[in-house]
């Protein structure tokens, strides 16, 4: 076991040294992988931020419940009791038709119009604060419409659904982009490893002749793929971080105009580590495919 670990450790060191000996080629490879990964990663970051903004804005979507004109005091009290039992409602506020009319009178444009009215045309209403997303709101709407003496249910946040759909579309786009570019990454490492195998053809042949196992010969190429993938992932994170930094300069100015302190957030440590692991895995996969395909061709004669 310790000998196995030592061999891996030695191979790892030798692979790093080999990469360091060709800094330009290494840099180019890492840049290609980094840029390829940075595109979906950047999209993902923007979506995450957009998601958190929507949650803030639509944290408490309101639902207005207008009562039938013939609803009496007893009906209202009964309804209020029913509403308080419904799950998913954070606050229930009653606005009587008189209160509503008073409110309208206070707003400048409406005062004149109100003054000409003989009777109060407004219905009694409940304003409900909810906490759920679009699906939750829809369920609530059906439930509320079924209540007695309810004339109309007004969701003042139909646009929440539109925004959520839009974000979903964005997610799908990023997923497609990520899949495409991940295959690109595998192809890049595949080719890099192929070239490396060709460069080391003599060494591989001699090693086979003097008793190296296939596992031993493959090992450095797996390490190479893994390291290239991980370095590429690191480059992608750096690129996205830099872009975020630049974007935030402009976003801050814009946000200040709206009196908001909004800035783009970055990924957490676990997200970063997951990305590095994923990139390393893709590098390994490319190496694995390349080694399986090309190493058997080098058989001593």
């Amino acid at each position: 076991m310790s000998s196995w670990l030592r061999q891996h450790w030695q191979t790892f060191g030798l692979t790093l040294a080999r990469l360091a000996r060709n800094p330009l080629a290494t840099l180019l490879n890492v840049t290609v992988i980094g840029v390829a990964l940075a595109l979906p990663l950047g999209g993902y970051m923007l979506l995450q931020n957009l998601g958190s903004v929507t949650r803030q804005v639509t944290g408490n979507p309101q639902v207005s419940l207008f009562l039938a004109a013939d609803a009496g005091k007893a009906d209202i009290a009964a309804l209020e009791a029913r509403l308080k039992q419904i799950s998913g409602l954070r606050a229930v506020r009653f606005i009587s038709r008189e209160q509503a009319l008073e409110g309208l009178k206070r707003s400048e444009n409406m005062a004149d119009v109100i003054a000409t009215l003989q009777t109060n045309p407004l219905p009694d209403a409940f304003v409900l604060e909810t906490g759920g997303g679009a699906a939750e709101l829809e369920r609530l709407e059906r439930e509320l419409k079924a209540l007695p003496k309810v004339a109309h249910v007004q969701l003042d946040s139909a646009w929440v659904k539109r925004l959520e759909t839009l974000i979903k579309l964005g997610r799908t786009t990023v997923l497609i982009l990520a899949t495409l570019l991940a295959s690109g990454l595998v192809a890049v490492t595949f080719n890099t490893i192929r070239l490396q195998i060709l460069t080391q053809k003599d060494e591989i042949e001699v090693s086979k002749l003097i008793g190296a196992t296939d596992a031993f010969i493959r090992r450095p190429f797996f390490h190479l793929g893994l390291i290239l993938g991980a370095l590429g992932g690191l480059a992608a994170l750096a690129i996205v971080y830099l872009c975020r930094f630049i974007l935030n300069q402009s976003i801050l100015e814009l946000a200040q105009l709206y009196g908001s302190g909004f800035r783009l957030g970055f990924f957490g440590v676990s997200d970063c580590l997951a990305l590095l692991a994923f990139a390393a895995f893709l590098g390994w996969l490319g190496a694995y495919m390349s080694v399986s395909r090309h190493l058997a061709d080098i058989e001593p004669r």
Partner: protein
């Protein structure tokens, strides 16, 4: 230790390199394989480390049947053999020392132990002073000695050499032959393919003379 019985080897296209070849070599022997180019010397040597497999017949090396040996077992067979190739197969991207270190990389030796063994092997062939040099800067005789050092660093029980003196002047050739003899004297079985009859006669060893893939004598 090595035994061929009724071995036939034909290549694709119908060329028959060996035909009905039978002989056996005991542990500790020094054997020369002679014959003109194309007589099958190289093919014979390639059958022992399973670089080639026999078309029919049986090749036994240390009791293992080469013809039926599975691929994953081959590296372990080769580690017990010291191979010296006609085209040397030295690596010119690394030092003399690192060339000798190569066979020790996958046998699980600690680096210190491996380095000690490599220097001992280089010392035996008189190249210790050149350990940092690139093999390309060595003379023909020195390169051949480097090949020998790489072949013996794992202390194999069998040494196989294909035309080890072909490109050497007579003084260097004699030196190299003397080395093979000294390895043989400490118990290593040595097989050398050569077309240099003068060299063979001087040592007076056992000779397997090949002619068109068969034993001539």
């Amino acid at each position: 230790m090595i035994s061929f019985s009724q071995v036939r080897k034909s290549y694709r296209g119908g060329h028959e390199a060996l035909a009905e070849l039978s002989f056996s070599i005991e542990s500790g022997e020094l054997v020369f394989i002679t014959g003109r180019s194309g007589a099958g010397k190289s093919t014979l040597l390639k059958l022992i480390p399973a670089i080639e497999r026999p078309t029919s017949g049986t090749v036994l090396v240390n009791g293992q049947n080469i013809g039926s040996m599975r691929r994953p077992a081959i590296p372990y067979l080769r580690r017990n053999l010291g191979l010296i190739f006609q085209d040397q197969k030295l690596l010119y991207d690394r030092s003399v020392f690192d060339n000798v270190m190569l066979p020790l990389a996958f046998t699980g030796h600690a680096h210190k132990d491996a380095a000690r063994r490599a220097r001992a092997a280089l010392d035996k062939v008189g190249l210790l002073a050149r350990e940092k040099a690139n093999p390309i800067t060595l003379s023909g005789g020195e390169q051949q000695r480097l090949c020998i050092a790489r072949a013996v660093v794992n202390r194999p029980s069998i040494l196989l050499a294909d035309e080890p003196t072909a490109s050497l002047d007579s003084a260097s050739a004699a030196e190299v032959m003397e080395m093979f003899r000294s390895f043989n004297q400490v118990g290593v079985t040595v097989l050398i393919a050569t077309h240099d009859d003068a060299l063979v006669q001087r040592l007076n060893p056992r000779v397997l003379a090949l002619k068109q893939g068969r034993l001539a004598s």
